[in-house]
Symmetry: C3
Subunit: 208 residues, 3 copies
Amino acid sequence: MLHKLFPKDVNFFDLFEKQSNCAIEAAKYFSVLALKGTITEEDVRKMHDIEHDGDDHAHKIMDELNKTFITPFDREDIHRLAKEIDDIIDMLYTITNRIRIYKISGSNKTLVEFAAVIEKSTQAVSCAVRALRNIKNIKTIQDSCVEINSLENVGDDMRDKALGDLFEHEKDPVEVIKWKEIFQDSETVLDICEDVAHVVSNILVKQA
Amino acid sequence: MLHKLFPKDVNFFDLFEKQSNCAIEAAKYFSVLALKGTITEEDVRKMHDIEHDGDDHAHKIMDELNKTFITPFDREDIHRLAKEIDDIIDMLYTITNRIRIYKISGSNKTLVEFAAVIEKSTQAVSCAVRALRNIKNIKTIQDSCVEINSLENVGDDMRDKALGDLFEHEKDPVEVIKWKEIFQDSETVLDICEDVAHVVSNILVKQA
Amino acid sequence: MLHKLFPKDVNFFDLFEKQSNCAIEAAKYFSVLALKGTITEEDVRKMHDIEHDGDDHAHKIMDELNKTFITPFDREDIHRLAKEIDDIIDMLYTITNRIRIYKISGSNKTLVEFAAVIEKSTQAVSCAVRALRNIKNIKTIQDSCVEINSLENVGDDMRDKALGDLFEHEKDPVEVIKWKEIFQDSETVLDICEDVAHVVSNILVKQA
């Protein structure tokens, strides 16, 4: 096995920055779709392209990880970080695809709100990941992680309220099945963002 | 990075004991709520407090793990053990919250039975975790793990019977949706207890 | 801790071959059951026996891993590989059991198709795992991984089409609940096969 000892040509930070930008892009596009209400095959394809770009960055990170001997932080943390950011984008694609498959149409107020919170959370994720370049950014990283955690709590409350309303007011059980899954999936995106915050916090503690 | 080489002031066993006591407390409170039938906001808040205490212990374990050089068993096993016990308590909070959100009311016989099995399993988890202090306790640890595995099997059968009955007798599809999730979640608690038993068994094998 | 330095008597490849053969056996039996339509307690018991055999092989791999110092590839990859193959078989058992519990009867065309794709995927998994014995088999391994990934995509489309049809044509919401879970579970089997392909590809990259 040949390891590059001085991998000057590899920059994990650049790759993570690109990957987290994809997460923001997916979230922004999800916001547009939630507002628009109906999702076409073309929309799903466009989200799939974003997801594919994200995949590419994740694969590059993994490939470099396998070839590089000296890494800026623990190998397992690099692996987990790339995996979790990838999961954010995957989940946004999954929800988009589900909305089309389930033939859900008409903009839903709660989903629009969810999309806005998800967009904020991916921006905080990207901010935390970018700040990892320099340990001096510790305050920025910590603030971003606090924001991600707080947005996850907001999401929990939104999902609880949405499900409560759904069970109380929606008379069509099949609509209950569809929307319950969409709302729970939306909250899952925020859970994954929180997992990213955990990985980032963990990296910080080890560097301290 | 500064590692404490002789961390006399850190006792992972004490922390794990406190964390697993939280799991028992959550399970006992879940039993009370299952019997009572209706869950108020106040009940959810109390369960949340228990979950919060559990979180505190988990965070302390992770913090110590990051600062400590010599650990009583493999670092990854300490990490997994803290994570799995935390998951037990989180899941009990999730179910409690769901029952309130779904406005389920009236004590359900199967849920009361589930709660009793979960309580037994958390007690076996705590017993196994406490016994880890001393390799001489090998028999106690093994017996606890066998009990946890056997309670998980009991839970599987309970869930299968409960879902079979639900699909056969419940005519309201929305009630089917609600209870299906509650029963599956309850069984998941026992699955997580079994994951703890796997981690503990694994630690045992390595020390043998 | 006593490690065998030259574990001539341990052959991880033999164990993985046996374990992946169990996955094929479970998939083949699942095909038979999907075609037959109705699942009896006896059928579930037989699938359980296969799952139990698979468990035995997984445990042997873990036991050897804990006792062996020199392993043919990274310890964590051996652990993950055994875990993922075990998950394939577990999921097939879970679906089989669910079909019986939910009293689903009558052969479903989509489920028969799913079973055929799952069978192909487990064969590709077994082929990849067997080829790991020799780095010269790199082409075989890569081809198997490509096939597994492509079958996962086939499964995604099948699930999307199946859920779309279900929501459009099934009028009984309880049937929607049952079949939605069965189709999603079936696709999950292919996801797990893809996870195996990831582990295998990862092993390959490290050996390159």
